[in-house]
């Protein structure tokens, strides 16, 4: 295999994962999704590390990735605990619930125009199977007999 091309491809994939992770981290407001984006960035780094490990024919990159996984596990544990606590206090996972640490004279960021909540789909009762006879209502039965 062309090792250089392999490395190039992996580096590009890693860079893209990092970039997409950045987009997710910046744009999304759900704390859990932000966290997923963060993990995605870590994945991008892992990809590049593993590819360098192969290119240099050295175990260091893979070992480092093992440590990244370890750290990610720790991070997930702590972050999840924190997020749960924040959720319990604020009643939501929005990261913008937590902007109390701003300067006192800075206006809080408030979303004035919230999107419409999606319409709950009307309760659709299960269809009867197409086979069989459709039952008549009482009224229809009455009409047919008038």
């Amino acid at each position: 295999m062309d090792e250089l091309a392999l490395l190039h491809g992996y580096q590009t994939v890693g860079a893209m994962l990092v970039g997409i992770g950045i987009v997710g981290f910046l744009a999304r407001r759900n704390m859990i999704v932000m966290f997923l984006s963060l993990e995605m960035m870590l994945q991008g780094i892992s990809v590049t590390l593993v590819s360098w490990s192969r290119f240099h024919n050295d175990w260091g990159g893979q070992v480092l990735t093992v440590f990244i996984i370890t750290v990610a596990a720790c991070e997930a544990a702590i972050a999840l605990a924190l997020v749960l606590m924040l959720f319990r206090r604020a009643g939501g996972l929005d990261v913008l619930f937590w902007q109390q640490l701003r300067e006192s004279n800075v206006e809080p960021f408030i979303e004035h125009e919230l999107p419409e909540p999606p319409a709950e789909p009307a309760d659709r009762w299960p269809h009867l199977p197409p086979a069989g006879i459709e039952p008549q209502t009482e009224e229809e039965w009455h009409r047919s007999h008038v």
Binding site: D2, V23, V50, N57, Q62, V66, I69, V83, L84
Partner: protein
């Protein structure tokens, strides 16, 4: 600006647009156009990357990378957080496949075990308990969608262009001064590398040397050997870190539970 640079610029712009369209916003969503633009962008980026190996390997790589990146985009753009998590699980599977493609068996399996098996499941837990239907407003809003998308896309563009410059030196742009084109051409790639501060890459490894070391059949034993000899101290540190994280998470939750109990005892006081 030559064609290569134009490609990167177009790819970056279309990527930014695609991400912007795909990200949840208040009204307009334009998912199809976004997807299309995203595919275009991905294709443009991919067109600048030489693909490794024979046709079978190329196919496998393209599929793996494509699935990974598509799943990654879906992770950050889907509205329902549960879907995001599932897409992230798919991203992880893709990354795991990429690892396996590189011969890093242990890592590929460990990634799935730890990330997909434990971390993401935990997140799914939280998501399901916090908001089972995914109908909250903050999942339907992005913070500065355009700016964020541009930042990410520019990051990707800059990094890809840099990678391209490093790995494909002969395709690098000529020096900025148009008068020196001939000189730059004459001096060749190495001079160009010097001019752009690009360090020279080491020789790629041969297949035999890889088989002797990093692709050896006794993969796990080798990795373990490296972990527990050269990186032993780091392993210990990681162990301590895990322990501390365990204690920390437990104490945070215990504190929360304590607070809850206290409030229930003293009548919300």
């Amino acid at each position: 600006m030559n064609a290569m640079q134009w490609t990167f610029v177009v790819a970056t712009i279309s990527g930014a647009l695609a991400l912007w369209m795909l990200l949840p916003r208040k009204r307009f969503r334009g998912r199809r156009l976004g997807s299309l633009l995203g595919l275009v962008s991905l294709g443009l980026f991919a067109s600048q990357v030489p693909l490794p190996g024979g046709p079978a390997e190329r196919t496998v790589f393209i599929v793996l990378a494509g699935v990974t990146l598509a799943a990654a985009v879906c992770t950050v753009t889907f509205r329902s957080p549960v879907y995001c998590a599932v897409w992230f699980g798919l991203t992880l599977l893709g990354v795991s496949g990429l690892f396996l493609f590189q011969g890093a068996q242990f890592l590929s399996v460990a990634t799935v075990t730890v990330y997909a098996g434990a971390i993401v499941v935990m997140f799914l837990f939280v998501l399901m308990l916090s908001d089972p239907r995914g109908r909250t407003y903050y999942d339907r809003l992005s913070w500065e969608a355009m700016l964020s998308a541009s930042a990410g896309a520019v990051m990707i563009g800059v990094l890809s262009m840099t990678l391209h410059r490093v790995f494909v030196p002969e395709a690098a742009p000529p020096a900025a001064d148009a008068n020196n084109v001939a000189v730059a051409d004459a001096s060749g790639a190495s001079a160009n590398a010097e001019a752009t501060n690009v360090p020279a890459l080491p020789e790629p490894p041969t297949s035999e040397s890889l088989q002797a070391n990093i692709l050896a059949p006794e993969h796990v034993a080798r990795l373990g050997g490296a972990l527990f000899s050269r990186y032993l101290v780091t392993v210990e540190a990681a162990g301590v870190l895990l322990l501390v994280a365990l204690v920390g998470a437990t104490s945070i939750m215990a504190h929360a539970r304590f607070e809850q109990l206290r409030r229930s005892r003293h009548g919300n006081g």
